[in-house]
Amino acid sequence: MMMNSMKSPFNFASGTIIQGKWHHNRYTIIRELGRGANGIVYLADWNGKKVAIKVSDNHVTITSEVNVLKSFTKAQGVSLGPSLFDVDDWIHNGSQISFYVMEYIAGTDLLTFIKQNGTTWLPVLISQLLTDLDYLHKNGWVFGDLKPENLLVTKSPVKIRCIDVGGTTMQGRAIKEFTEFFDRGYWGLGSRRAEPSYDLFAVAMIVINLFYPKRFQKHGVGIEQLKKAIQDVKELRQYRPILLKALAGKYSSATEMKKELLKLIHFPSAHHQTTPKYQTNKNQRAQTNNTRTRRKKQKNKHGILETILIVSIVCIIYAFYIFEQIM
């Protein structure tokens, strides 16, 4: 429970119209999507299109998050966070309320999705997350406050998306926002400096959270407690190697962690229906690999021949030149 000494949060009814003071766009509120310490997110209609609007009495929060979303846009193709559509202020009852408008991401939060659809989806979703994180890291950012509540899974196609960029920090700086369970500082396993390994630690904790939905507090030596938590759950044990490596901060990139995650996945050999399919896939892949290497070898052979030809022609021409000089 927290008693705020700051301004009281607002509550806008459905149908309220938000009109921007600078860009004059009009948005009609449909319903509230969520509220946090920083502000409230509403589902709204913008000329027939569904968008999400985040409002706050604190324009600093809004501006900071907009700066992050803008940098996502600069790094093209980043699909982890929502796209930014508009930033503006709204004059309501004499006071100025800042807001920004972003893509509305409809989906289920990660924990609920896994509960409903099973842990088969776990490696896929984590792999998607690691791909997007890698992109973010290569652009000089660290996500910061990674946790299942901030991760939604959309359907058709199934894709993991992040819906809260409040904790995103530039690499090298101090992490601005964090949640203890996912913060390596809390577990005594690293600093709060923004670097890729900070996010990868959080990813490992997200996997652990999926099997310990109630989370747990730190008692004693962090890493020993976490090792035991992994050991105590059968399904977690198969991810043990990558989890331990991520918790120790030994991965240099999200891609490295993803590669090792995918290597860990093994297909069940108990069911006969699945086995043949897997084998033909493997064979097909092996065949294409072979043809590819063969073609490459042929290409190499051609290259060498051409080089020899060119060198010999040059030598002959030079020989004629010298011959001429002597004569």
């Binding site: 000494s5 700051m6 930033v87 500082g185």
Partner: protein
């Protein structure tokens, strides 16, 4: 913009002051010296009464800082958040001052168009990361704080961890009130790391009243001493943040 030093007093208490000068007046005095006063009210199995709440909010308001009243479970996160928020507030005050100098008396961050605001905020963010910070921590050690002290210790260690991830330098100092024999007692001199907290806290024996006002007054004096000495050594004017907001 000069990156001076941000000076803060972080007051952690669980109730109303009942001895000595009015803490709200002391907080106003601190502000005149360019020191921001932030207050965190801690509850555990008790609740801070209305008078206590009003006092806590009053101290922060007069001190130009941030206040929060929370249960001890979330103390660590609160301490960090309050310190950072107060830093941003101070820096914004400086920025607004600069803006007024450039754009005239009506200028402020709120009145800039969103795009410009974004650019200015990037500068504030950068300052937030690089500015030097001095935090003088005042911990209430009256009788009712007995069971809350371990959590306070964890929260302060955590604060040091967070702030040391920044590029700017940090200096912390720790005072308790009431102290042994005095109203206020200094436990830690200015230091960049708070590791010695653990040993220091182990020896604490909470008892007695809550002389919040005298504690604040002592804190202001300690800040003055620090900067007086520095003044002699470097002839550097870092009273830049006097008119914070």
């Amino acid at each position: 913009m000069k990156t001076g030093t941000i000076k803060q007093i972080l007051l952690i208490t669980d109730g109303c002051s009942n001895h000595g000068e009015d803490p709200v007046a002391m907080a106003a005095l601190a502000r005149e010296f360019g020191i921001t006063v932030n207050v965190i009210g801690v509850m555990e199995n008790d609740i801070i009464d209305e008078q206590g709440v009003r006092e806590i909010e009053g101290i922060a308001r007069q001190g130009g800082g941030v206040s929060q009243i929370v249960y001890s479970q979330v103390l660590s996160q609160t301490v960090q958040m309050v310190t950072r928020k107060a830093m941003t507030q101070t820096l914004q005050g400086v920025v607004n001052q600069e803006l007024r100098q450039i754009l005239g008396n009506q200028a402020s961050l709120e009145n800039l168009p969103p795009e410009k605001r974004g650019e200015v905020l990037e500068v504030v963010d950068e300052l937030n990361e690089t500015v030097d910070l001095e935090v003088l921590i005042l911990v209430d050690t009256s009788a009712s704080m007995k069971h809350k002290l371990p959590t306070v210790k964890e929260a302060l260690l955590d604060l040091s961890l967070s702030l040391n991830a920044r590029m700017g330098n940090n200096q912390f100092s720790l005072f308790i009130f009431p102290g042994k024999g005095n109203e206020v007692e200094k436990l830690l001199d200015w230091t960049p790391k708070l590791e010695s907290l653990t040993t220091v806290f182990a020896k604490l024996n909470p008892s007695g009243m809550t002389p919040t006002g005298p504690a604040l007054k002592e804190a202001i004096t300690y800040f003055k001493e620090k900067h007086l000495v520095r003044g002699y050594l470097s002839r550097h004017d870092d009273e830049f943040y006097e008119e914070s907001i």
